[in-house]
Structure formats: structure tokens, C-alpha cells
């Protein structure tokens, strides 16, 4: 159904947190979800309440090695940034097919810009978490340039770790809102319960169901689902049943063809 690329110009802005929370929100709404982390030092399991002893199986791992959390299929592919076969492998697995009912979320660490570039043409959406801080926004021009012309058409931004009591954070958020307009889809407040949940080995929804960060990230997940639904309506696609499972797989970013 959709490929969501989670990638940010800066490390530590909440990309993995976002990938995990989106997956949980989608699974909660009965979507089939796969999350692939491409990080060497992977914190995705922890964000899904798994203890540090758990490592995620490779993309091509055996079915019996699968790690599932609330129905979410969790994978790691730390070699992806250096593996030219990564994208073809996703294609072979049918994960990039528009006919796939699955939502695929790919967590690409900030340093792996090349991998993000390779995945962008197949992504329905690129979600970019920014912190409202100068060292994050200062990277935006380079980010824009490296992702290339038109890349931002598919990019939705959000401000994470917002502390509204901080003047600079407020100003930066207002600036980003003006810069990105409707492509800035929301903000997630800084919330101690995010890290407390990790320490409790619980999901945020279980540990702090009424937390500010959970409410914010749930709104973002709903917004993303609306965008995906709107995209699906716009896309001139044959009915899924008539779509071959393998074969020609067109990049999702149709508008980028020009």
C-alpha cells in the first residue's frame, strides 16, 4: 500500500521514535506493517518495548526467526547502505509493489543520505523529523541539495522534542512552519515519558497512554494515513487484483519523472 521513508538531516531528532510510533499507530488501525531498520546500532527494538537482548532478523531471514510486536514485522538490514541489491531485494519481496497491502516503513539513519536517495523514488512519503534547534535547521540547505530537485515534493516535516517554554524553540518552529507551509504536518512535544517508556521496556501507549508525545504522534500518524489515502485516490492504478505480483514496478514518485 505504501512505503514510508523516515530520514532526517540530523541524528537524534527522533527518526527511529517516529518510525516505531507510526508502526504502532498503523497496526492499531489494523494495517499490516513491516518496519525495516537500516541502522548498524539499532534502537528500533527498544522503541517497540523489546529488551536489549533481542536483535532483529535480516530481511531475508527465515519465517521462524521473525520478530513481531503487536502484529508488526520487524527487520534489520544494516548492510543496506552498502548493498546495491537492497532495493531489488525489496522489489523481489513484493514490498515496493503498489499492489501490496502492507505499509513498509524504512528507518534510514541521518548519515546514510545515499541510501535515502536511492529509496526516495519508491517512497510514497518521506517523513523528516527536525528538532527546533539551530544545529538541525542549519543542515536543511545541504539536505535539500543532496536529496535533489523535486525531492521535497514527497517530504513531510515534523518538529520533534518541542519545548514550548523555550523561546528559540518556538521561534524555530514558527520559522519552519513558514518555510514548509502545509508540508510541516505537526509537532511532537518533548516529553519525559518517551524515555521513561524505553526504560520500562514498554511501548509509550502502554506506559503513558495520556502523554503529550503520544497524543501528538498519533495525530501525525492520522495525518499520514490521510495523505496516503489521498495519494491512492489520485494515482491512476488498476485494481489491485489485476496487478501482477512481480514484474514492472514503477517508482512511486510519479511527479518526479519530469
Amino acid at each position: 500500500m505504501a512505503v514510508i521513508l523516515c530520514h532526517s538531516p540530523k541524528g537524534g531528532t527522533g527518526t527511529t521514535f517516529l518510525a516505531a510510533q507510526l508502526a504502532l499507530a498503523f497496526a492499531d488501525r489494523n494495517r499490516d506493517v513491516t518496519v525495516i531498520s537500516t541502522a548498524m546500532n539499532d534502537s528500533l527494538p527498544l522503541h517497540l518495548a523489546l529488551p536489549p537482548a533481542v536483535t532483529l532478523p535480516d530481511l531475508e531471514g527465515q519465517a521462524e526467526d521473525a520478530v513481531m510486536v503487536q502484529g508488526i514485522d520487524l527487520r534489520n538490514c544494516a548492510r543496506a547502505p552498502r548493498d546495491p541489491d537492497f532495493v531489488p531485494m525489496l522489489q523481489d519481496a513484493g514490498l515496493l509493489s503498489p499492489a501490496s497491502e502492507r505499509v513498509l516503513i524504512i528507518d534510514v539513519p541521518s548519515g546514510e543520505r545515499g541510501l535515502a536517495q536511492r529509496l526516495l523514488p519508491f517512497a510514497s512519503l518521506h517523513l523528516c523529523a527536525l528538532t527546533p534547534a539551530p544545529d538541525c535547521v542549519a543542515l536543511l540547505p545541504q539536505f535539500h541539495e543532496e536529496l535533489g530537485e523535486g525531492a521535497l515534493d514527497q517530504t513531510l516535516f515534523l518538529v520533534n522534542c518541542l519545548d514550548e517554554t523555550r523561546r528559540l524553540a518556538r521561534h524555530t518552529t514558527a520559522f519552519l512552519r513558514e518555510l514548509f507551509g502545509a508540508n510541516l504536518i505537526g509537532r511532537v512535544r518533548q516529553d519525559e515519558s518517551v524515555v521513561e517508556a524505553l526504560a520500562m521496556l514498554q511501548t509509550l501507549g502502554r506506559y503513558a497512554p495520556s502523554s503529550a508525545a503520544l497524543a501528538d504522534v498519533t495525530e501525525i500518524a492520522e495525518h499520514v494515513l490521510l495523505r496516503l489515502a489521498a495519494q491512492a485516490e489520485l494515482a491512476p492504478q488498476p485494481a489491485p487484483a489485476q496487478q501482477p505480483q512481480t514484474g514492472d514496478i514503477a517508482p512511486a514518485g510519479k511527479s518526479r519523472a519530469a
Partner: protein, 130 residues
């Protein structure tokens, strides 16, 4: 958070609360030099660079500003619409939005004034739109 507010929230059983005490201080929203530097960075504004190459000044008079969408409210997901992306938006249009929103017809002078952007932002805040 002030103690009395905290107690009240606890009594209401609410942790999810955008604390409002600081909101009015938006009035002194400033143009930090980093924002100014970013607004001038050609890499962020591909389209305006393209405009500039077509023998136009980097900041051109705005097109029909009435057609431009208003700025998004953060965390208020609207009906999904094809968003106007940064790359397809000339720099001038970015500035023109504030002028249009404040009900002023943009003049060449105000468009070129990055500080007017911030003034409009603080006016929007005063009206509670931020």
C-alpha cells in the same frame, strides 16, 4: 510549570496540555541571524534560483497572492491537499503569504524586507493564530 497549574492538571488527570503561559511572548519573535542566513541560501530555494537565472531579481514581485495557500497550522491536520512544496515556491511567494494574510497588499518594498515577515508572524500570534 507553576505548582498551582501542576496541581490543577493532576486533579483533572491530564498530562496532555500545551502550557499557555509563554504564548504571549511570541510578540517578540525575532529574526535570528541563522533564519536570515537560511532564507538567503540558494540551495533551499531552487525555484527562486531558476527565476533569478531568467534575468529576474532573486526576489520578484509576487504573483497573484490570493491564490497562495495560507500557512499550515502546526498539528492541525487539514484535509489532505497536494501541498505546495518549497521547491516549487518562489522565495517572493513565501514572503507574500504573510503580507496577504495580514490583509496588506504587498509592495515591492515590504516584500524585500525580511523583517516584515517576522512582524506579520507576531501579529498573527497576537491574534492567536500561531
Amino acid at each position: 510549570m507553576r505548582a498551582d497549574a501542576k496541581v490543577l492538571l493532576e486533579r483533572l488527570g491530564r498530562q496532555d496540555f500545551a502550557y499557555k503561559e509563554f504564548a504571549d511572548r511570541f510578540a517578540d519573535l525575532e529574526l535570528w541571524p541563522i533564519f536570515e542566513a537560511l532564507l538567503k541560501d540558494q540551495r533551499l530555494f531552487t525555484q527562486s534560483r531558476a527565476d533569478a537565472q531568467q534575468e529576474q531579481p532573486a526576489i520578484t514581485p509576487a504573483p497573484a497572492t490570493a491564490d497562495l495557500p495560507g500557512s499550515a497550522q502546526v498539528a492541525a491536520p487539514a484535509a489532505p491537499a497536494p501541498a505546495q512544496s518549497l521547491s516549487s515556491m518562489p522565495l517572493s511567494a513565501l514572503f507574500a503569504r504573510y503580507e496577504a494574510e495580514a490583509g496588506n497588499r504587498p509592495t515591492a518594498e515590504t516584500q524585500n524586507d525580511v523583517r516584515s515577515l517576522l512582524r506579520q508572524l507576531s501579529e498573527a500570534n497576537a491574534k492567536g493564530n500561531l
